[in-house]
């Protein structure tokens, strides 16, 4: 198994139809970042096809039947990336474009579940493009909501086509769904490359970056079935046993509705912090570095999902205090 340093970073690019994915892909392919980037697209379309590192893949969803009802993966990616990795020396980064109507979860889960991909690659970030001008029209679509919920980086694109108020309003609405993502307003998807590639958002060691505003403001869910986020901060140490049981129960019961969870946890009697992330029912966690001098040990926990009952979740979480 390759060490994390040697594993090939993978960026997942999502966004509704017309949000600017192709523009961003062409930027990535032509930008002089000194990296050789291989791109897997759904159809060649307007992506530079003379570039030999652009590969077409037809989305093919496999159910894994591994006891996890929501565990689906992209079978086409397992096969194509398996073949591609034999030419590992020819590129430094992989970008996967999903269709405008795709749920990002199967792509992400592929890299958690498949033994070969897990060993050789590492998810870098989910980058979601939002079309500021038209997103309102599709706001309630499941696809848009899921793409927002799974994002590590949110590019609010076409900022030149809307006024400042409209941009801020959408930014606030995206925050209610996903307080973890880094928001970057762009025009023609012109974000700096280092904000898109090499983000290491799936690195467990990376600190949680919850938008502080999210923690202090109230969030009303728009309607039943709506996707949103809840965040908890707790200064008292948590019980390892209780929290573990609570999370196990939560993913078993609510897995399909829980898109992503991230947490940094202070356990009673532990000098090191504990870090956790999950995608649906797949939970990845590890003991991390010691709390640093000057750092106040505390627990931060964020859940992004559908139909979240904030009061019930908060009660469940608080019952895990040691």
């Amino acid at each position: 198994m390759a060490s994390p340093r040697d594993r090939l970073p993978v960026t997942v690019l999502t966004g509704y139809l017309g949000s600017g994915k192709t523009t961003l892909l062409n930027r990535i392919l032509t930008h002089e970042h000194g990296m050789k980037v291989a791109v897997i697209v759904n159809e060649f379309g307007d992506v530079g096809i003379d570039n030999q590192l652009v590969i077409e893949a037809d989305e093919e969803i496999f159910e894994m039947n591994n006891g996890c009802i929501c565990c689906t993966v992209r079978g086409d990616l397992i096969r194509i990336i398996g073949n591609l990795m034999k030419r590992r020396d020819r590129f430094d980064h992989l970008v996967i474009e999903t269709t405008g109507l795709a749920d990002p979860a199967p792509v992400i889960q592929t890299f958690f579940v498949d033994e070969d991909l897990r060993d050789q690659l590492k998810l870098d970030a989910v980058v979601t493009l939002v079309d500021l001008k038209h997103v309102e029209q599709h706001w309630d679509s499941v696809e848009v909501q899921e793409q927002l919920a799974f994002a590590d980086v949110l590019l609010l694109n076409k900022i030149d086509l809307v006024d400042v108020e409209a941009c801020l309003a959408i930014q606030q609405r995206t925050r209610a769904i996903n307080p973890l993502a880094r928001v970057i307003p762009t025009c023609q998807a012109d974000a700096a490359m280092d904000q898109i590639l090499g983000v290491e958002a799936f690195s467990l060691e990376r600190a949680l970056a919850i938008d502080p505003e999210f923690l202090t403001s109230d969030h009303d869910h728009e309607h039943d079935g709506a996707i949103g986020a809840v965040a908890f901060i707790e200064d008292r140490p948590m019980s390892y046993k209780k929290l573990g049981q609570w999370i196990d129960g939560l993913v078993t019961e609510r897995g399909p509705d829980l898109f992503r969870m991230k947490g940094i946890i202070q356990f009673a009697g532990e000098t090191n912090r504990y870090v956790l992330q999950s995608v649906h029912m797949l939970v990845d966690s590890a003991m991390d570095r010691p709390w640093r001098d000057g750092e106040t040990p505390s627990t931060q926990f964020v859940i992004i999902g559908r139909d979240l009952d904030e009061a019930a979740l908060r009660a469940g979480f608080e019952a895990c205090v040691a």
């Binding site: 030999q52 590192l53 590969i55 077409e56 037809d58 093919e60 496999f62 894994m64 039947n65 591994n66 079978g75 086409d76 397992i78 096969r79 194509i80 073949n83 034999k86 030419r87 020819r90 033994e115 070969d116």
Partner: protein, 366 residues
């Protein structure tokens, strides 16, 4: 049957510029072809003592290579989505390339020549296409599956063709189009397919770490064996008959498992795990004409085992992961390919314990 003469007295090695993805011997054992992830296709002609790069390095890989049963054609395919074919004139004669046949832009990595026949089956996306060596044309009709074709295998008599995709293994007889295809449902995606000679069993190694076995040419109810430590990524049937069925080797994670059928029915199959390799086992292959099994691993070694799972010999490369294996049809030479492009050819003596038993001619000793 290949001439029994020895090609090499000791290990021979060479190198391509990219990871070796596939290797194949001609039926007469005189030609060896190797494909690489850099699109190279190397043909070694042992009788003439020369080698030729039929296709040079490029930006797209080749992932499958094979000789037709009658050694008249060589096939290769890969990332470009084109089927490449050469006509062969035997040792010392330069192969003549056909025009590449585009098959719809799919990455081609599953293809198999018909044993005792002239057909070549190729998985192209969700379709299985057939190229016919008799007419030298691609058949217009194709067999459609529900998902991308991940593996293909012909029955030993060349009559039945099996193709695996997610959720299904489809069986049909390409030479008998009136017969409708038979659908075997699976709970996962098939990665490796193989038919036994004796008993006409079809084995399918799956993504979910299970093995499916269908007796009687797929007509019987399938058995599922679970508990592999990872994907069941490669398999090989022994061509020597067993009491009820031949031995079956399956590669999964760092081990290979030899399955033998002790009693009739699903519960009669017994696994013998071969624990030795320090890295993923990529390929398993029984030597033609014996129960000697070769396993190739990321740890840079090829292990040779007898049919009871006892280690006979450990062959070493130069440290790079070994990802492909192919026995010469004489069962006395084994070629392996590495992920950095190195290849090794070893002469292999059959140890006495695995030599095939002489056929019994009667009840009494002479």
């Amino acid at each position: 049957m290949a001439p029994p003469q020895t090609l090499v007295q000791e290990r021979l090695c060479g190198a391509c510029s990219n990871a070796i993805t596939a290797q194949a011997w001609s039926a007469d054992g005189e030609l060896l072809a190797m494909a690489t992830a850099g699109g190279e296709l190397l043909l070694i002609d042992f009788r003439a003592g020369c080698e030729e790069l039929l296709r040079g390095e490029r930006d797209s890989s080749l992932d499958v290579v094979g000789f037709s049963a009658d050694d008249r054609f060589l096939m290769a395919a890969g990332q470009d989505g084109e089927l490449l074919l050469w006509e062969l004139g035997g040792s010392g004669v330069r192969p003549i390339a056909f025009d590449p046949l585009p098959l719809g832009g799919h990455w081609l990595d599953a293809a198999a020549w018909q044993p005792q026949g002239s057909l070549l089956a190729v998985g192209a996306g969700k379709q299985v296409r057939l190229w016919d060596g008799a007419s030298r044309t691609l058949r217009v009709e194709s067999q459609e599956l529900e998902g991308t074709v991940l593996a293909l295998a012909w029955s030993r008599d060349g009559r039945r063709l099996a193709a695996a995709c997610h959720g299904t293994v489809l069986l049909w007889s390409p030479d008998d189009p009136g017969q409708p295809p038979q659908r075997c449902a699976t709970a996962s995606a098939g990665l490796a397919l193989g038919w036994s000679g004796q008993g006409n069993l079809l084995a399918c190694g799956q993504l979910d770490g299970s093995l499916m076995l269908w007796p009687d040419g797929g007509a019987g109810r399938g058995w599922q064996f679970r508990g592999f430590p990872g994907k069941a990524r490669a398999l090989s049937w022994c061509d020597q008959p067993g009491r009820l069925a031949p031995l079956l080797a399956v590669a999964s994670a760092d081990i290979a498992v030899i399955w033998s059928q002790q009693d009739p029915g699903a519960k009669g199959w017994k696994p013998e795990p071969l624990v030795l390799h320090q890295g993923r086992v990529h390929a398993v292959a029984f030597a033609p004409g014996s129960r000697l099994l070769a396993t190739a691993s990321s740890d840079g070694t090829v292990a040779l085992w007898d049919g009871r799972g006892r280690l006979q010999q450990l062959l070493e490369g130069d440290g790079q992961a070994i990802t492909s294996l192919s026995w010469r049809p004489d069962g006395r030479h084994l070629v392996a390919g590495g992920e950095q492009g190195q290849w090794w050819l070893w002469p292999v003596a059959r140890p006495p314990s695995v030599r095939s038993r002489p056929p019994r001619s009667g009840g009494f000793a002479p």
